[in-house]
């Protein structure tokens, strides 16, 4: 079976010096792949290149058999790719409900938001609040809920645990695992919080200075002390 996402020899960055060098990876449907690594390793750059916010300099990205070269950012969601950017990307001037509706707006007919509100009861309570009135955890839920409203097949998730309490991070991780098990959603999960990410991931990839330095089953990465020390620093 061919992979949902295939990345081959991807090189990309901002201006003269590339941030990513020759990155190759695959994500299968129903798989959570954690991308780990220190600050500046190129994790966010990888996601930004995959969703088209940054042009790739070299390499190939194939999603569900379709080469993504030249596809506009605003078309990605139509193909089934949803990107939750770092810093959550909630439109703070819009209400919770408007943010969520925005997520499903490209679909005809527009999907009901009831399942999203069921998933995040807290958002239902704060439906009419503006984005900037929400707490960090609520914003993260809103950003993920909004991405899910587009009913994607692949979720690109950038640092969902950033600035969140451990309890809320755990909730979000559980939610992602349930979604994968229930709907076959694939997730490319960028995280600094290695333990949280590996607790739900099927596979872990470690980036360092823009190159993939190792990749293993998540369980192997957690269990193998040598690997842990060498690449994850704990």
């Amino acid at each position: 079976m061919s992979a949902l996402l295939e990345v081959e020899g991807l090189t990309a960055g901002y201006g003269a010096a590339p941030v990513l060098h020759d990155v190759s990876l695959t994500v299968q449907a129903g798989q959570i792949v954690a991308v780990l690594g220190a600050n500046g390793a190129g994790k966010s750059t990888l996601l930004r290149t995959l969703s088209g916010l940054l042009p790739a300099e070299k390499g190939r990205v194939v999603f569900d058999g379709q080469d993504l070269r030249g596809i506009k950012v605003e078309r990605m969601v139509h193909l089934g790719i949803a990107h939750v950017p770092e810093g959550r990307g909630v439109v703070t001037e819009l209400t919770v409900d408007e943010n969520l509706r925005l997520g499903g707006l490209w679909r005809k007919p527009q999907p009901s938001l009831a399942p999203i509100y069921e998933l995040f009861p807290r958002l239902a309570e704060r439906k009419g609040h503006l984005g900037h009135q929400l707490s960090g955890g609520e914003r993260q839920m809103l950003a993920i809920g909004r991405a899910l409203a587009a009913q994607p097949r692949l979720l690109l998730l950038d640092e969902p645990s950033l600035g969140l309490a451990p309890k809320i991070t755990a909730q979000i991780m559980t939610l992602l695992r349930d979604l994968r098990d229930r709907t076959g959603l694939a997730v490319l999960l960028v995280e600094q919080n290695v333990r949280s990410a590996l607790s739900i991931a099927d596979q872990g990839i470690v980036l360092s200075l823009g190159r993939i330095v190792t990749r293993h089953d998540a369980a192997t990465l957690v269990d193998d002390a040598d690997l842990r020390h060498a690449y994850l620093g704990f």
Binding site: L53, R75, P85, G89, E93, R101, H132
Partner: protein, 293 residues
């Protein structure tokens, strides 16, 4: 008291036009962070087209509709052909390009139609009804209120009740995030410019018959008043721009009524300076509060 009432109604009628024109400025500011200094010249250009059509067909209303359609097209064209290619790293770039457009549009209008005032007829009588001995509202004033009111209501419905309005707001506030959610941000920008220019054309059609008539520079003074209205209301606030328009209209009316017409333009500039010094975000802007929150 009679005089005060008369000046109040006159001021509100004038203010309604400033409100529409200020609203057009705010629409573009919100969408593109550009003060469209070419708005007056663009509105005059569409008014010339409208009166050409009205003269040729004998129908003011056909001309009126043509003005609005021409506004939509001109706005979309200016965004697609010119503004899209302006480097926005410095806010002055957009201003300079807009001023260049003013010179081009006014120059072309002068070459095509001549640099003299041409009569612009009003579709309704401008004689006020007699209410208790004072001539207050004219049919034309009612037309102005109705037209501006309709635009405000329609735009409010568009922005708050329709998917396109939601897309336009999202694209203005957070272009990158909107793109990731499938919003065609460039298209929304074009649409914003088109709508704003059409509203500007409407304001031009409403105000030109009440002034000296058609002239390539006919909207220059109106632009200053409307720009002041937009700043008073807060460039980010559509409701503020409407209230600002009414405030400037009333101020102009009272000042020219009690102190003389020659003082009025100075009063507008004085108001602009006071607001910029005291509350640069405008009297009705929410952005100052939102930023600190």
């Amino acid at each position: 008291m009679d005089r005060f009432l008369f000046l109040t109604f006159d001021g509100l009628s004038r203010g309604a036009v400033y409100a529409a024109f200020a609203l057009a400025l705010v629409l573009i500011w919100r969408a593109a962070r550009i003060v469209n200094f070419a708005q007056g010249a663009m509105a005059v250009a569409t008014a010339y087209v409208a009166y050409s059509v009205a003269d040729a067909t004998g129908s003011y209303w056909l001309g009126f509709i043509v003005a609005l359609v021409a506004g939509l097209l001109l706005g979309a064209g200016v965004e697609r052909v010119v503004m899209r290619f302006v480097d926005h790293s410095s806010p002055l770039n957009g201003v300079v390009v807009a001023l260049g457009l003013v010179l081009i549009i006014q120059g072309v209008l002068g070459m095509v139609y001549g640099n003299e005032f041409r009569p612009a007829t009003a579709p309704f009588s401008r004689d006020g009804f007699d209410v208790g001995g004072i001539a207050l509202l004219s049919n034309y004033d009612l037309f102005v209120f109705g037209a501006v009111g309709a635009v405000v209501v329609l735009l409010t419905l568009l922005f708050t009740r329709t998917p396109t309005g939601l897309r336009m707001r999202a694209a203005a506030f957070a272009p990158d995030v909107s793109r990731l959610l499938g919003v065609p941000v460039g298209g929304m920008l074009t649409l914003g410019w088109a709508l704003a220019a059409a509203v500007g054309s409407l304001a031009g059609m409403l105000v030109i018959p009440t002034e000296l008539g058609l002239h390539p520079t006919a909207m220059d003074i109106v632009f200053i008043s409307a720009f002041t209205a937009a700043v008073v209301g807060g460039l980010d606030s559509p409701i503020g721009s409407v209230l600002g328009g009414l405030i400037v209209g009333l101020l102009l009316s009272y000042i020219s009524g009690y102190l003389g017409a020659t003082v009025a333009p100075m009063a507008v500039l004085a108001l602009l300076v006071v607001v910029l010094l005291g509350r640069p975000d405008g009297l009705f802007s929410r952005s100052a509060k939102a930023r600190t929150a």
